[in-house]
């Protein structure tokens, strides 16, 4: 097993400069540094799996990423499940971004994004559900921790109205997350959504059927499919095969998770690095 190396970069006004090399398991390294203005800045942590070989390239990568990504995107994350969070580049799913969730059934995609949304919203945030039909049964979301009084159900028939509504919702800083049944976005549209989300801090989950065309540039793309091989007669929370098909700044992954006791538990299976095909432990 290769040793995990974590690069820490202090985000300063200047380019992010690689300052420290920490070897260990910790991903959530908190900042103890202050910038010249005396403000505490969070140190960006990069758990590294794919950049083991060349430190020079790594530093360059980090510099570039600190240029193009906003501070906000790193600062807030949504925790999914332990094993998944460790895999993701920022120790969790970044908030204030556009994520695409594909489901073998739409119900799977809705449930998965509802879990993440309710974690993000907490007691205060507003969650918007935007779609062109009214097939959602809100009571079905209750087991996933969604508070219905925080939800706003928006329906729009035309694609243009739908995209506009998602855009407006993502622009509002009072919105914690937007769950939208919206596909067929072109590069410009999805980029605009991403910029709106970055500016306001709202997180967008764009849902679609597994067979539908992927949107152009999400930060992550997930596929949630019902897993087979459950044991027992009881009708528990759903068991999902969670595929991370695409992850900006990270690599694809695959897990089997189960929703039980208001938690997503990853069921240990061998993880395969889809890019290289080699097996990676934990």
């Amino acid at each position: 097993m290769p040793r995990r190396i974590v690069w820490c970069v202090a985000q300063k006004k200047t380019l992010g400069s690689a300052s420290q090399l920490v070897v260990g398991n910790g991903i959530e390294l908190e900042s103890k540094l202050s910038d010249p203005m005396g403000n505490k800045r969070r140190i960006l942590c990069y758990a590294d799996r794919w950049m083991l070989a060349n430190p020079v390239v790594d530093i360059l990568r980090l510099r570039i990423s600190s240029l193009e990504e906003t501070q906000r995107r790193f600062s807030r994350t949504i925790l999914i499940a332990d094993a998944v969070d460790r895999w993701l580049p920022h120790g969790g799913l970044s908030a204030g971004c556009i994520h695409e969730v594909k489901g073998t059934t739409l119900a799977n995609a809705i449930a998965f994004s509802a879990i993440l949304s309710s974690r993000l919203a907490g007691d205060q945030g507003n969650v918007l559900y935007i779609s062109s039909d009214r097939s959602l049964h809100p009571l079905g979301l209750l087991p996933y921790g969604v508070k219905l009084n925080q939800m706003l159900h928006v329906s729009a028939r035309r694609h243009a109205d739908l995209a506009w509504a998602v855009m407006e919702a993502l622009r509002c800083s009072q919105v914690s997350s937007v769950i939208a049944l919206l596909d067929g976005l072109d590069l410009t549209e999805s980029r605009r959504l991403q910029l709106a989300a970055e500016a306001s801090g709202a997180t967008g989950f764009l849902l679609g059927h597994a067979a539908s065309a992927p949107i152009a540039s999400p930060i992550t793309r997930w596929r949630v499919s019902s897993a087979i091989g459950k044991s027992g007669e009881r009708f528990d929370g759903p068991l999902w095969d969670l595929d991370l098909l695409y992850c900006r700044g990270g690599s694809p992954g695959k897990w089997t998770v189960e929703w039980r006791d208001h938690k997503l538990n990853a069921i240990p299976t061998q993880q395969i690095n889809l890019a290289t095909g080699e097996a990676l432990a934990g």
Partner: protein
């Protein structure tokens, strides 16, 4: 206080043009009504000074109508009846107080807005002018002609009530700007609108009110009218908020040759009490507003019926358990849903008929067919029996339903039910 009516008579006007003209006349007074098939009546009480007096107002109105190519006669008097008579048969245009009688006397009896048969009858009797009519004792008039004639006479002479029903009820708050030169760019309309909003919002703030519905009416040079309306989910009087709501609408205005007059009115007001400003720099009150603004903007474009809050109702039947209630409407208490009743995430409406095979009668299903595709059931839970609610008519279609949660061999989960008549339906999808 003496009232003041302006009657306009346009002998050859088409009816749809007249309706538009009535709308256009809003610029002079909020109380405007169509008067017959070729006239308009305006209650200009207290409005004349805005145009420099009654004379200039009448002159301005007629000059504009003339420019539109409409031939018109206008008169101002204390009563609707007198103004009507003078506009059509009179020589003088502005008559008040004691002069009314003198001005009306020489006019023919037709000037009293009488039905044709009464006019013919009067003429047959040799009563041609109003003066001659007034000399006859009232008793004999009422015996011969009924109450209509006397009522019309009294109304003309300000002795009987003559209510006017305006084509649109006047707004409680209304302000207008008449520009020296017509404008046609969005920027300049915005400028005027900002000015109008400032005036209205100051008035609203003084009275602790907020607007729910605002209406901006823009009068084009050629006498046509364009309008845009703004609704809000909560009473509001913040200029920036209202400006943002208007901004999307202003682009859709069609200026044509330019707008020359703008009237902003508040159609619905609701109480809005001032809030205490916070001294603490950490509490920002603007946050709450930004979400309201989002709701308003979504509602303005998609319709307020499309932006909903979710309310749980006191019913176990899935189609009646949840109400989507417009976010703009007042919130009602939501019921508590018992956690042990698990519901699917998506509901199929109406339920889809399926074929189900059962091994033992009354037992749980083992496999089912949806659109010729076979699903083998590996796990099922149920039944959950939902009985009809007698006070609902449509729900009795299926009678008592037995619901099962099932999972097929591919891991998909469904919500199916068996109705009273042993028919099976697919009603929802679980995650």
């Amino acid at each position: 206080m003496a009232r003041c009516f302006l009657s306009i008579y346009c002998p050859d006007i088409v009816s749809d043009r007249l309706t538009r003209l009535v709308e256009w006349c809003d610029r002079y007074s909020p109380l405007v009504a169509q008067d017959g098939c070729n006239g308009i009546i305006l209650d200009i009480t207290g409005c004349a000074h805005l145009f420099g007096g009654e004379g200039p107002l009448l002159l301005d109105l007629q000059r504009r109508l003339h420019r539109m190519g409409i031939e018109s006669h206008g008169a101002i008097a204390d009563t609707w009846g007198a103004a009507w008579a003078l506009a059509r048969y009179g020589g003088s245009f502005i008559v008040h107080g004691e002069n009314t009688r003198a001005a009306l006397d020489p006019l023919p009896v037709e000037a009293l807005r009488l039905p044709n048969e009464i006019v013919l009858e009067l003429r047959r009797l040799g009563l041609v002018t109003i003066a001659a009519l007034r000399k006859i004792p009232r008793n004999s008039l009422s015996v011969r002609f009924g109450s209509t004639l006397l009522r019309r006479l009294d109304q003309a002479l300000d002795q009987a009530a003559d209510p006017l029903t305006p084509w649109r009820s006047p707004a409680a708050y209304r302000t207008s700007r008449i520009l020296a030169e017509p404008v046609s760019t969005v920027g300049s309309v915005e400028y005027v609108l900002h000015d109008l909003l400032k005036e209205i919002c100051t008035q609203l703030e003084k009275n602790h009110l907020g607007s729910r519905r605002m209406d901006l009416v823009c009068y084009r040079v050629d006498g046509t009218v364009d309008r845009c309306e703004v609704r809000t989910s909560k009473p509001n009087r913040a200029i920036s908020h209202l400006m943002r709501l208007f901004s999307g609408r202003l682009e859709k205005l069609w200026a044509d040759f330019g707008f020359e007059t703008f009237v902003l009115s508040v159609q619905d007001v609701e109480a809005l009490h001032p809030t205490q400003l916070s001294l603490s720099p950490f509490e920002t009150t603007g946050e709450e507003e930004s979400f309201d603004l989002l709701v308003d903007r979504l509602g303005m474009r998609l319709g307020f019926a499309a932006v909903n809050r979710i309310r749980v109702l006191e019913s176990y039947l899935p189609e009646h358990a949840v109400e989507l209630r417009p976010a703009a409407a007042s919130t009602l208490a939501s019921a508590e849903w018992p956690a042990y009743r698990v519901r699917p995430i998506r509901l199929i409406d109406p339920p889809m008929p399926i074929q189900v095979s059962i091994l033992i009668p009354g037992g749980s299903p083992v496999q089912f067919l949806i659109e010729q595709k076979q699903h083998r059931i590996v796990r099922s839970e149920g039944p959950e029996r939902l009985t009809t609610e007698w006070w609902r008519e449509p729900s009795s279609r299926y009678g008592t339903r037995d619901y099962y949660r099932i999972e097929d061999d591919k891991g998909f989960r469904f919500w199916i039910f068996c109705d009273q008549f042993e028919h099976w339906f697919l009603h929802g999808h679980f995650a």
